[in-house]
């Protein structure tokens, strides 16, 4: 006779411990891909990058060009570090901080009623963006932030140079 479902003890399904390093590896590579895409997209048009940063109306004018021109290369550097698995945890924490900055900046623009495109993957920031696109941008960055924290604080990932160079510091 079949035992009714209500009498069985519910069990929580947990991700097996051996899977965590692979989850961390996947998250690391996704982050590396997104940073590479974001950096490369901005690289070819330094003028548009300046307009995009200026459109946020947050940084004083003195810092607009240094930020706009430095950011794509910082994104690319993070992509390379994460791809290689070199200084993985610091790179993941730096990614988390950068994503928090982006989330804060988007929320600030939204709260001030400005209509701009985030310029996250190139473009000059000018657009008639609405609340939906701000929410989408924040949601996307929030998901990436979760991945960054998983890499920074979770299990050491596989296929990383860190494992070869200094396994004790993983």
């Amino acid at each position: 006779m079949r035992v009714p479902d209500t009498l069985t003890t519910p069990t929580r399904r947990r991700i097996p411990a051996r899977w965590w390093p692979w989850c961390s590896t996947g998250a690391r590579l996704v982050l590396a891909g997104v940073w590479a895409w974001a950096g490369l997209a901005k690289l070819g048009d330094p003028d548009a990058a300046v307009r995009a940063v200026r459109a946020y109306d947050i940084l004083p004018e003195t810092f607009v060009k240094p930020f706009a021109w430095g950011l794509p290369f910082v994104e690319l550097a993070l992509a390379v570090l994460l791809l290689l698995g070199l200084a993985t945890r610091p790179a993941a924490w730096a990614s988390a901080v950068l994503l928090l900055v982006f989330i804060g900046a988007t929320a600030s623009v939204w709260a001030r009623g400005l209509q701009i495109d985030c310029g996250c993957f190139g473009g000059g920031g000018q657009s008639a963006a609405d609340a939906t696109s701000y929410l989408r941008d924040i949601g996307r960055d929030g998901l990436l932030l979760c991945l960054a924290i998983l890499v920074a604080a979770g299990a050491p990932s596989r296929f990383a140079l860190d494992n070869v160079i200094s396994p004790e510091a993983r």
Binding site: D47, V50, V74, V80
Partner: protein, 218 residues
């Protein structure tokens, strides 16, 4: 491992800044002041200098909404300019370029057309003949010269001005100043320095009323 991150990011940020500064098409262009009249926002100025009202358009020759506005307001604008009520300032911007230079070079060519005293004809030709696709490679220097000829410009100085990109630095400077003012979309229209909605600008009666009211106040 933090020192690795710090070193890599510092090198990337400084190297990136220097590389981008050297590869920016406007940053390295010489800023040449136009020979023709310049409006209060650095744009091309057309019409009677003593006209009581200034209408300013921040536009991009690749922008489809700018084209729609031009199609809707052109007869009214022409008439207001001819009546001496309005002087028209067009600030051509590099807004829609995506690693390309079509907006930049066409705005620069607009200033060349103003130097040839044919700006409004050139402005009409460029918007009338706008490509349906932005950054498609349509606005070559050859094409800009063709638009110039259709606008009635037969001065070789215009072709030289277009080919040399004489006003690229000027357009870059205007784009910088305009974005610093908080303008993030084209077209943005000002009437005596105050922004009016595009729907007012596009409606002949509303635009005429707004001009008459501003003329009465000045």
């Amino acid at each position: 491992m933090w020192w690795v991150l710090g070193g890599v990011l510092a090198v990337a940020a400084v190297g990136g800044f220097l590389y981008s500064r050297s590869s920016s098409p406007t940053e390295n262009a010489k800023v040449v002041k136009p020979v023709s009249a310049v409006g209060p926002h650095g744009g091309v100025l057309v019409g009677d200098a003593n006209a009581p009202v200034t209408i300013t358009e921040f536009g991009d020759f690749q922008c489809p909404v700018c084209r729609e506005l031009q199609q809707l307001w052109e007869p009214t604008l022409q008439s207001l300019i001819q009546q001496g009520k309005v002087k028209f300032e067009f600030v051509g911007l590099q807004f829609l370029d995506q690693g390309t230079t079509e907006s930049l070079r066409s705005a620069s060519a607009g200033v060349c057309a103003a130097d040839a005293n044919k700006f409004l004809d050139f402005y009409t030709e460029l918007y009338d003949g706008q490509s349906r696709e932005e950054n498609s490679g349509f606005l070559t220097n050859d094409q800009l010269e063709k638009f110039g000829r259709s606008a009635g410009i037969d001065d070789p100085a215009f072709d030289r001005c277009v080919r040399s990109g004489r006003y690229i630095g000027w357009v870059g400077k205007n784009t910088d100043t305009t974005t610093q003012r908080g303008v993030t979309s084209t077209p943005t229209v000002l009437l005596n320095g105050k922004q009016i909605s595009n729907s007012v600008a596009a409606d002949p009666q509303s635009l005429t009323d707004a001009v008459d009211q501003a003329a009465g106040q000045s």
